[in-house]
Symmetry: C2
Subunit: 375 residues, 2 copies
């Protein structure tokens, strides 16, 4: 919808960054590439397979760059996200949420036939049975283990063993290992506090793995972890594969949690660009980004454009934002203001395209193919 011809005509033009219609998701490719290389190097040094999570970016142009930099594949949160990524040529995908119902199982089975290396988690015997019944060819599955968050995953070791037996009884299911993702660990402030939470979780996971092994399971893959817990995950040595999502971009939420910890050593590469459309009020100006331009679950967006670095932003309805005037500086209609989003995943999920820039030049427009693909 937003990828109008006018946008494409800007590509390569000097100063074109300032002409992008706003609100827009604008990616600084230089910073982004440094982030991609940094995480690839961290995973390699730790001996961990890197499988970045596409729920953060929803964009095949980014998935392909991550794989080129050494990732073994990507994670997808939902089947529709995996379908969109598969359609864009991504051929190694792990679906990280359990699914429910025959219709969903049939969609997973179809993906297993078209994606070279397709994997999906299950967290209930009924789910394993549904998947086995739908399978047209072998489907690789992992057991999702709840780390105590209670969101998804088997509830304890006994259920893990029960699900394993169901998987083993299905001729077309191939058991690969386990997933354990502690979403609640990622944003704990302080490297030591995060490490302690991860250590507890990994001790529990080790006990579940032991129970599975005692039941005859061969655990080839142990996948989990995120941008915030990487250092702790690497130190614990339980995971074989990490699935961070936000590190290509960063956001205010992670920045505030991770501060100067090693896990926080990524650059703010993706901004939401806005334009001042009204400057009639003496105390503030109105920009064209509001509740539809940002996620609102995290901290407020913060202005990155230097002139407005001390200006607070507030939502001003669905379509607009209110930005305090900077001390002693005039602001005119048409000025541009970039913001660091509070929480990147639900923010980028509002955009159909990413405008990729180098310096002040728009160099590429990437479709966010899996935007809205939460089904």
């Amino acid at each position: 919808m937003s990828n109008r011809p006018a946008d494409t005509a800007l590509i390569g033009q000097p100063g074109s960054r300032a002409q992008i219609p706003t609100p827009a998701a604008v990616l600084d490719l230089d910073a982004f590439e440094r982030n991609i290389a940094k995480m690839a190097a961290r995973a390699k040094a730790a001996g961990l397979a890197l499988r970045p999570h596409s729920k953060s970016h929803k964009t095949s142009a980014i998935a392909h760059r991550q794989i080129e930099a050494g990732a073994v594949g990507i994670c997808c949160a939902k089947l529709a996200e995996a379908e969109a990524m598969a359609a864009a040529g991504v051929d190694a995908i792990l679906v990280t949420s359990p699914i429910a119902g025959a219709g969903q199982a049939e969609r997973a089975a179809a993906l297993a036939q078209t994606v070279a290396d397709f994997r999906i988690v299950v967290d209930h015997s009924d789910g394993a049975a549904e998947l086995g019944a739908a399978a047209q060819s072998p489907i690789q599955v992992l057991i999702d283990v709840d780390p105590g968050m209670g969101r998804t995953g088997v509830h304890d070791a006994a259920q893990a063993v029960e699900v394993f037996h169901t998987i083993a009884a299905q001729p077309n299911l191939t058991f690969l290992g386990v997933q354990c993702y502690g979403g609640h660990w990622q944003h704990i402030a302080g490297a030591n506090a995060r490490a302690a939470a991860v250590a507890d979780g990994m001790a529990y996971l080790t006990s579940v793995i032991a129970a599975l092994r005692a039941a005859g399971a061969k655990i080839g893959v142990v996948t989990g972890g995120g941008t915030g817990s990487f250092a702790a995950d690497a130190a614990q040595g339980v995971l074989t594969e990490v699935q961070p999502g936000s590190y290509p971009f960063m956001d205010r939420d992670y920045r505030e949690a991770l501060q100067d910890d090693p896990d926080g050593a990524f650059e703010q590469s993706l901004v939401i660009a806005t334009t001042v459309i009204t400057a009639n009020h003496p105390d503030w100006v109105t920009v064209d980004g509001g509740l539809k331009a940002f996620s609102t679950d995290g901290p407020l967006p913060v202005p990155l454009t230097p002139k407005f670095s001390a200006s607070t932003y507030g939502y001003f309805g669905d379509e607009h934002g209110r930005l305090r005037r900077p001390d002693g500086a005039l602001v005119a209609r048409g000025e541009r203001v970039d913001f660091a989003p509070g929480h990147i995943d639900p923010t980028l999920d509002r955009y159909d395209i990413i405008h990729m820039v180098r310096g002040d030049v728009l160099v590429e427009i990437a479709p966010v193919e899996a935007r809205g693909a939460s089904q």
Copy 2:
């Protein structure tokens, strides 16, 4: 992205509503049609032109139904929204936000050449001059008057007169009248409190109109108002045209503000359908709708499915929600739960399609053409 072939195959099938892939925006057409007819009748009885705001629905299938029911056209918040609606055949559009810059003015000028009855607001002399310079043919403009909210609009009567003189000096601008929208009035609880706020605002607007008339302006159109302020707007008699947006759907935000007031006499017709994907935890179940399925600026979504009517919902990350188990009832993977969204506009802006149902049958899939079109 979400409009996969599987969805289309469900149309007309008995029980198909329960097969729609979730999370999904599901519209009860019977309730929706009653809402459309009710607002059309209220406007007609009050002698007000009805120009519903498409920022709430972003969907031409709904705009066309509103116009068939008697609306004179629609409002659009942004140029991109207007471009999407124009491409879908809507030929009477008012853009209700001011724009800034030559590029935006050129897009408005292009719309004025393709939309039979195109109108746009201005709130600064520079904006009027930009629009006049870009015009290839006459463009109909209204002056946006700030009702004291400070979001958009001229700041006072003196600025209104200044902008009017600029408009009058542009050969290709045709002055139609004024817009005055009090977004801050819409959600005031209590009909009397809303009426008092609207009365103050309309008294101020009357003074601005008087100043414009004294400067030689002919005020043919006075447009404004929303779903919450309709009764007060009609009572004041200053507006000639109302621009409500949320009334086709309702949401929890409006429901709580309007209660049993006449303005609240619309039905909750649009729900977000979800599915239980994990039921392993003793205290709650996990549904597949989280931060990407709802707006999070308003009150929390509330479950409408009777079994869960006493269950509280909480966001459980980007992709999931946590729903308390109902007392004494078993819940299984695969069960469906419908929710009333907290704030409809930014919620529906997350969906590519509306699944329209009658009873338990999916009868139509309408594209949300202007979703994300906030530029």
